[in-house]
């Protein structure tokens, strides 16, 4: 391995850079969580208080004491889940076609559309969608949000799953087919289980993107379908006076993601980018 090489000074320098980078990466997270357990007076202290403060759960109590917050959290989970499933199912089926058939009707246009959807700034679509959705009485509805979220992340989900499906040897399918498996059986009992790790990885990534989505709900959601990022952004315009609950809400949004990132980091490297470089 190349690892062992390099002078001692080089190694020291490398560690110095890595340590600084890691601190930079982690500090904001630490700061958010620590602010979330501080009283306002402590969070506004100058010089800042890193550890020398009395922790308080007040901000979290405050947050969960707001009836709207729980609803928002539940909304976010429900919308994330439903749109992820929709996105991965629709995307998975399309990805199968792309992975297994080099030529078919509409392949080129589909590929082109996916690139365009991925490249198009959200605001371009949201203005007319807003007009359509309000015209047809679909404003502030969770199903509307689910469908739109799923569409926006469709390119990502299709590309990712295509690359996973391409790694499943075609021989497996041929074997099953010669054993007389029907198309449906083939898909559900042969391919799906083999593709499961890829599907799971795709689900996680799509779920994270959905969880983080902001522009769509800030415009298309009213009271019923409001999601966590929108709720958090509301603090900025109204409650800059107290960073505590704001930090608490932010912590509840990002700490699960941070943990998930650590948990699946091996897959992030090998899985997410497998299509990009593997083999």
């Amino acid at each position: 391995m190349s690892a062992a090489r390099g002078s001692r000074a080089g190694r020291v320098a490398a560690y110095a850079v890595l340590i600084i980078a890691a601190l930079t990466a982690l500090f904001p997270l630490f700061w958010t969580v620590s602010t979330s357990v501080k009283d306002r007076v402590d969070s506004y202290a100058n010089p800042p208080k890193f550890f020398n403060f009395a922790a308080t759960w007040k901000n979290y109590r405050d947050l969960f004491g707001r009836p709207q917050f729980l609803r928002v959290y539940v909304n976010t989970v429900v919308i994330t889940l439903a749109s992820t499933v929709l996105c991965v199912v629709v995307g998975g089926v399309a990805a199968y076609a792309l992975a297994r058939h080099r030529r078919f009707h509409g392949r080129r246009p589909l590929e082109a559309t996916l690139v365009l959807v991925r490249a198009m700034p959200g605001i371009v679509l949201i203005v007319p969608i807003y007009q359509l959705v309000t015209r047809f009485g679909l404003y502030d509805s969770r199903p509307t949000m689910v469908v739109i979220y799923a569409t926006v992340n469709l390119p990502f989900s299709i590309w990712l799953m295509t690359s996973f499906l391409e790694q499943i040897p075609i021989e497996v399918e041929e074997c099953a087919r010669t054993d007389g498996a029907g198309r449906f059986h083939l898909f559900v009992f042969v391919i799906a289980p083999l593709a499961l790790p890829g599907i799971a990885a795709t689900m996680i990534f799509v779920a994270l993107l959905n969880w983080n989505e902001f522009l769509l709900p800030v415009i298309l959601a009213g009271n019923n379908a409001e999601t966590l990022p929108v709720y958090i952004s509301g603090f900025i315009s109204n409650r800059t006076l107290d960073w505590g609950p704001m930090a608490a809400a932010s912590s509840l949004a990002i700490v699960p993601i941070a943990l998930l990132t650590v948990l699946i980091q091996r897959q992030l490297v090998s899985g997410l980018s497998s299509g990009a470089v593997k083999e």
Binding site: H101, T113, P121, G122, V127, L132, P169, F214
Partner: protein
């Protein structure tokens, strides 16, 4: 809509080896004619088409329609056709050009920071020093965090009087920056926060690219007495080019789409210093409630994505 977790290139593009799928399509499948198979494949993409048509194609068409009318949110008067007046008023103006410039500056500054930093960190991690797994975890964490929450926490840290950033700068004797209040430093602040999330992404894809490279050319270079830098520049870098191209494409797209972080940190301010085209469009549509004028800006933005699309497909074809 920053979509920090990047996206894979289209199947068949530079980065995807074509071996397996090639075999897949050539194989004979007893019982199913090629035609039926093709039809089947087309049918499988139908659900995706339904979503893409209703929520992409239709909105684009409606956007074009709206851009020639004078609809406003909350206006109870019926809109009417107004020709190109929305474009005259909101597109061919200095406000719009400024926004284009701001968007470009933020994107370019971001690339200038994110690519070297991301690639550099990937090279360090690739050396597989002791503790690499820990560092890799730590460095990846910012990548997928909710941009809105990220914006909030940075806004708190960047507060000019009470923020921890200025405390740090002052402690090490670097003075005091009015991060979000000054026209130039606000741009820098946005680029820094965006980079904080994007560098891990660049690093991740570069790492994956490095993992896929054969070791022997590097070994050979080293045996020949090349320095680490020469090895990287003349051997590793050229081999990484396809992956780097993909990273570059994705970063350009996402920088142009950058919205959440700006919305939270500055809302385009101070003044119009950080007002990108996306922010301008948002303000026009949802602050001024001028939905038709917003649609006109959107139409122009949509046209801007066509070159991106062409570059992308060209990259795909060139690498086939």
């Amino acid at each position: 809509m920053t979509a920090p977790a990047g996206t894979l290139p289209e199947p068949g593009s530079a980065a995807i080896p074509a071996g397996r799928p090639e075999r897949a399509t050539r194989s004979r499948r007893p019982g199913w004619s090629a035609r039926r198979r093709r039809l089947g494949a087309a049918v499988l993409t139908l659900p995706a088409w339904v979503l893409l048509l209703t929520l992409f194609a239709v909105p684009i068409a409606v956007g074009v329609y709206l851009s020639f009318r004078n609809e406003a949110i909350g206006s109870f008067a019926r809109g009417r056709f107004v020709g190109f007046s929305n474009f005259r008023r909101d597109v061919f103006t200095s406000t719009f050009y400024d926004a284009v410039k701001t968007t470009a500056v933020i994107a370019l500054m971001g690339l200038a920071i994110q690519l070297p930093a991301g690639i550099g960190l990937a090279l360090l991690l690739h050396r597989n020093l002791r503790g690499t797994r820990f560092f890799r975890s730590a460095l990846l964490i910012p990548m997928l965090l909710t941009p809105v929450a990220v914006g909030i926490m940075w806004r708190f840290m960047l507060d000019s009087d009470l923020g921890v950033m200025n405390w740090l700068l002052q402690t090490v004797g670097l003075g005091h920056v009015d991060w979000l209040g000054d026209q130039h430093s606000a741009v820098v602040a946005i680029v820094l926060v965006d980079s904080w999330q994007a560098i891990p992404f660049v690093m991740l894809l570069t790492l994956a690219g490095l993992a896929g490279l054969p070791e022997s050319p590097m070994e050979a270079a080293r045996v020949d007495g090349g320095s680490a830098w020469q090895t990287f520049w003349f051997v590793t870098f050229p081999m990484l080019r396809p992956v780097l191209y993909v990273i570059l494409m994705i970063r350009v797209i996402d920088a142009a789409k950058l919205f959440d972080i700006i919305f939270i940190l500055t809302r385009g301010g101070p003044g119009t210093a950080t007002q990108t085209v996306g922010l301008l469009d948002y303000n026009t549509g949802f602050n001024f409630l001028q939905i038709s004028r917003a649609a006109a800006i959107g139409v122009v933005l949509a046209v801007f994505t066509i070159p991106v699309y062409l570059l992308w497909t060209r990259a795909v074809r060139a690498n086939k």
